[in-house]
């Protein structure tokens, strides 16, 4: 399992990694980061092969892979965005 990290504050939400992942293992967040972008998240860290195709495609160097050998937890930086759009939606119902 690769130690893959997506820096949510670097991510600009372009989704290019999503299309690139052969495992379909990346999705876009429902919350926004500080710059107002929905950002990429790994769906299932166990499922990631560490092929780095996502990294190859990311225009913002938001995805890094620390080491393929060691296993570890995915560290998605917490977005400092306050409300998810889902929450907002709810309020409106």
């Amino acid at each position: 399992m690769a130690k893959i990290k997506i820096d949510s504050e670097k991510c600009k939400g372009c989704c290019l990694c999503v299309a690139e992942c052969p495992r379909g293992n990346i999705r876009m967040s429902e919350i926004f980061n500080n710059s107002g972008h929905s950002f990429a998240e790994i769906i299932d860290i166990e499922n990631c092969t560490g092929c780095a195709l996502c990294c190859q495609m990311c225009p913002d160097m938001a995805i890094q892979i620390e080491d393929e050998k060691k296993t570890g937890k995915i560290a998605i930086k917490e977005s400092s965005q306050r409300k998810s759009s889902k929450e907002l939606m709810k309020k409106l119902e």
């Binding site: 710059s35 107002g36 306050r82 409300k83 759009s85 907002l88 939606m89 309020k91 409106l92």
Partner: protein, 181 residues
Amino acid sequence: MLNKHTKIIVAGFGGQGVVLAGNILARSAVMEDKHVTGMVSYGAEMRGGTANSTVIISDSKIASPFVVTPDVAIILNQPSLDRFEPLIVKNGLAVINTSLVSQSGSRDDIERVNIEASDIANSLGNKRTANIVILGAFIKKTNLLKPESVISAIEELFSSKKPALVEVNIKAFNAGLDGVK
């Protein structure tokens, strides 16, 4: 400086439609035969970052088109509040998109209108109309321009380029009007 004109600033992310909002205000004012000037600034950034659009509406001739200390600030996101709130004139007005602004401002010598413009826009099915929602709130609060003028301006500006969007934007405007008691 001399308060004969109403100076308005609309500020937000690039992409939130601040320029369009400014244009709609300017166009509406022209329809009411007022004097008006509009200006756009992309800040220091070329891409991304904040953008703002300033409009001066007056019954008399306008000299300087610059807005340094706005009477009204229409604020679409947090960084814009941080930047422009301090510049609002005493007893001025801030219209704030509270969907994207959490920290309330620091001034206690201005008036405030809060509206969850982005949320309302989302609920209308087009999140890009938050700029129009907030315009509605502004108009309702100030009565600076007639709602009909704004609606005509929306019709005029959209119908040429994106006629499909006329309806939802008018809805958004009305939602804004209704959003303020």
